[in-house]
């Protein structure tokens, strides 16, 4: 089940060791990103590219906005 999270929720999860993933293309990630975020563009997201993510910890995905 997808779990929506707001800004305060993100900050709280990060304090608990959550992993941040920006799913925008690399150029947008390089332009600006949340501190500590990994970049896995949606178009490349598969078992291999998600490999660095620890399945035992929360994962927070984000893009630019709600579009």
């Amino acid at each position: 089940m997808l779990m929506p999270v707001d800004r305060e929720g993100v900050r709280s999860l990060l304090e608990q060791g959550a992993q941040l993933v920006e799913v925008l293309p690399a150029d947008e990630y390089e332009y600006e990103r949340l501190p500590g975020a990994l970049n896995i563009p949606l178009k490349t997201l598969d078992a291999e590219t998600a490999g660095p993510l620890d399945p035992g910890l929360p994962v927070i995905v984000y893009c630019y906005d709600q579009q």
């Binding site: 997808l2 929720g9 999860l13 799913v23 390089e30 896995i40 997201l45 893009c63």
Partner: protein, 157 residues
């Protein structure tokens, strides 16, 4: 886009997947830090004067005027109990002799920018509109401070 990514991660077996749908636009407009080629240092938020004076609508002008001018400012933001900007007192009011309330004298709803605005774009806007300052608020309207054009131009040199 992020809901699709979250769904795909769940298909891949990740069980604690959260979707921050408001994304980095929301994060940045709240004044939270950014990394990257255009990190927080290139944004208005890094150059804001946070010591700009503020007062409440029910304050007396005579009290506010003395405090603001003594601190070396010629502007004061009027905020509610949460820090949300309601109005502004400008130089004319602060150097005048009206002794009513702040609420009666303030200019309503000053135009504001978010701390995530890029500094060069803020300077362009200030030059175009012949502004010497720009109030900076978070996305919830809470005052962060004021960007002074001279500070911004110096930072871009």
């Amino acid at each position: 886009m992020s809901p699709r990514a979250a769904s795909r991660l769940e298909e891949l077996g990740y069980t604690q997947v959260y979707d921050y749908t408001a994304g980095k636009a929301d994060w940045a407009s709240f004044g939270l830090p950014l990394e990257g080629d255009h990190d927080s240092g290139t944004r208005v938020g890094a150059h804001v004067r946070t010591d700009v004076p503020a007062c409440a609508p029910h304050d007396r002008l005579v009290d506010v005027r003395g405090r603001v001018l003594a601190a070396g400012w010629d502007t004061c933001f009027v905020t509610d109990e949460h820090g949300v900007v309601l109005g502004r007192l400008g130089r004319a009011v602060l150097t005048g002799d009206d002794n009513g309330s702040v609420e009666e004298a303030m200019s309503l709803g000053p135009s504001t920018v978010r701390p995530s605005l890029e500094l060069d774009k803020a300077v362009e806007r200030m030059r175009r509109q012949q502004l010497t300052t720009l109030p900076v608020t978070r996305s919830d309207g809470v005052l962060i401070g004021v960007l002074r054009r001279e500070d911004a131009e110096r930072a871009l040199e």
